[in-house]
Symmetry: C2
Subunit: 395 residues, 2 copies
């Protein structure tokens, strides 16, 4: 019979989606110049020419039967090796192809990683502010997601609350750095402290606690920012990555899960992910994207516009009076709502309706009193929007 669980859900649009739809409707009604859409995180720069050329070359040169044939369940060997080598070269790790599981973007990587190490009755901890899709990713496994409240001054980890909440039911801790929605990057100090607490808790509870690191924004880190590779600091770790942001390919669903070779059951986790795919119907990413990524493994799109936009916006907003934790990477920032009562939902709707200034309230990210700006937009749009942020400051 038709599932009541999923049926009920269809009526409930996400808040991000509501703002996005409002933006589209307003643009249709009043013209595109009436809308300043800072609501979504779709990369605004093109992929590289060499990626485009790689696609064309592969399609032209390859034997179509081999090229478009089934990938091995655990991914194309050559792609897995290219990913492992790149991570080893860049971060001093010692992955082999056997530790890499190509996935359909970070969503696929996270869903597999969580299923590998958490299940019914167990808890996955994450940190506010956080990407709201973590909720279904975790609940789909039967585990429960619990959220450590934000450290609003820095958006680093609120360690006091974390230590309180990290009890023996915790099977995995999920971090996202560089962070959507705050734009901050966890410092080496933060990662070291997190690793040390996890190590202590593992001993205390007598079972492993996995660190799952969601890293689609890894390549978007601003000048001079310390950006440690978390798996370097903690053995029981699984790195989840997507090429969506670094190569501007979100629609092509290509990413991977990389299992730390020093983790418990390190050699089993990728074969386990292969089994998990059978239950979710997920299977491999496309053969074509696996082969193409392999050819441009260390490349990124020209990501410089995001830092330029970050600086422009951060300076303008702080000058107006907004309280903003300075972004260190990504294409997001998370200022405090200026209004008296600090109701972000109210403030964001007012800015949207009166000024066409579309941002997203922080409540969705479990960060009330704040709003997210996605600045993966043309710099010109930011310049034009600054006077509107000035007006909205007085709401």
């Amino acid at each position: 019979m038709v599932s009541e669980f999923y049926k009920e859900m269809t009526g409930k649009e996400s808040v991000i989606r509501q703002f996005f739809d409002f933006a589209r409707a307003r643009a249709a009604e009043k013209g595109p110049d009436s809308v300043f859409n800072f609501s979504i995180g779709n990369p605004s720069v093109p992929t590289t020419d060499s990626f485009t050329q790689a696609l064309i070359d592969i399609v032209k040169e390859g034997d179509p039967v081999k090229l478009h044939g089934y990938s091995p369940t655990l991914g194309q060997d050559s792609t897995k090796k290219a990913i492992a080598d790149s991570l080893n070269r860049r971060f001093g790790m010692n992955y082999t192809a056997a530790h890499i599981f190509p996935t359909s973007g970070a969503a696929g990587a996270l869903s597999h990683a969580i299923r590998c190490v958490a299940g019914k009755g167990e808890v996955v901890l994450t940190f506010a502010p956080f990407f709201p899709e973590y909720n279904p990713y975790v609940s789909g496994t039967g585990a429960t997601l619990k959220v450590v409240p934000a450290d609003y001054d820095t958006f680093q980890i609120n360690f006091e609350k974390f230590e309180e909440m990290c009890d023996e039911k915790v099977a995995a801790v999920l971090i996202n750095s560089p962070n959507n929605p705050s734009g901050i990057v966890y410092t080496t100090e933060t990662i070291e402290k997190l690793a040390s607490i996890l190590t202590k808790k593992q001993e205390e509870f007598g079972h492993e606690i996995f660190l799952i690191t969601d890293e689609p924004y890894r390549e978007i880190v601003f000048e001079g920012v310390d950006s440690p590779f978390p798996s370097k600091f903690y053995d029981n770790s699984i790195c989840c990555y997507s090429f969506s942001k670094s190569l501007s390919l979100p629609g092509e669903r290509i990413g991977y899960m990389a299992v730390n070779p020093a983790a418990k059951d390190a050699d089993l986790l990728v074969p386990m992910a292969g089994q998990i795919s059978r239950f979710t119907g997920h299977n491999c990413p496309t053969a074509l994207m696996q082969f193409a990524i392999e050819r441009v493994i260390d490349e990124t799109s020209d990501l410089s516009i995001y830092e330029k936009n970050a600086n422009l916006l951060y300076e303008a907003l702080t000058k107006i009076g907004y309280k903003v934790v300075k972004p260190m990477g990504t294409f997001y920032m998370m200022p405090r709502v200026p209004s008296e009562n600090g109701d972000a939902n109210e403030w964001c709707w007012k800015a949207a309706r009166e000024l066409g200034l579309i941002t997203v309230p922080g409540d969705s990210f479990q960060c009330p009193g704040h709003f997210r700006i996605s600045y993966c937009v043309p710099t010109e749009m930011i310049e034009k929007a600054i006077p509107l942020f000035e007006q909205a400051y007085k709401f």
Copy 2:
């Protein structure tokens, strides 16, 4: 903690995989001519030139930011419309774009469709012989798969057993026609009788029973064979399709779910599938494959070799003395094991080890005493293998 459920599974290779691996090892040891590998269903003909050209054109012409950007959660509108129009044109249906959900192949389509209409405590019925991956697809939803025994004389439906087993816990019935592994196609008579029983059972139980139709072999039907479109005969139906076989693209993970516009909650099922994706981390198929498929929607590869192979093999095997239900489509057939005791596993291993003749025992498909031949191979290989089938007949 590391999941015991998936961990245990990693040790257990599927029987098909064991035979496939044996074939590879023997080829490496004794040379490729010592192996006649009829164990897997990977298309052996290339995709069409126009599909290849479509890929190149799209990559060359498209704005890369738009082309590779996120697809809408429910799929690219133009792709959905092209699929709906094609089905309407070919089968006299009245799908709209809103009834189509593009998926990562048939695996994705089935996993979403089953989750839409079956859950914990409910039963999904299917018919032997059947594709063994239905087991995880169904158990991943929390429902239970039950298998109606085969009608060994025709491989059509064993209606007596079906009526016995179709009790009020049955939420969905899953059929695969043209069928892997038997190669038969359900006749109009079979589909009409199935629809009529389901209609009666729905009334009796007071709840809907969905018919989920797994149709990746739809375009591989041999001359003169009656091949009805099952959704035409029953309202509560969801058609699951993949372009893997028709366009020889199994590695590119592109297919769809098509909800019968006359089904209960027809307008809700695709949005529900979008919600389901959030829990499995599945998301859309790639943007590129969606756009490419749209341009060649009614095309197929040159599939004629499969019929040629089927005829050659069927005639030779029956002449030798094998009992075979004549295949009507696909690139499979399912002869009876000739040996006295009828143990297919024993017979298949003997043929593999002594003759390098690699087939798959029917036990995996819940069809003991039979073996599957995948004849998506060069015709020459079949010609050379016939004397071996003759020897194996005498085992």
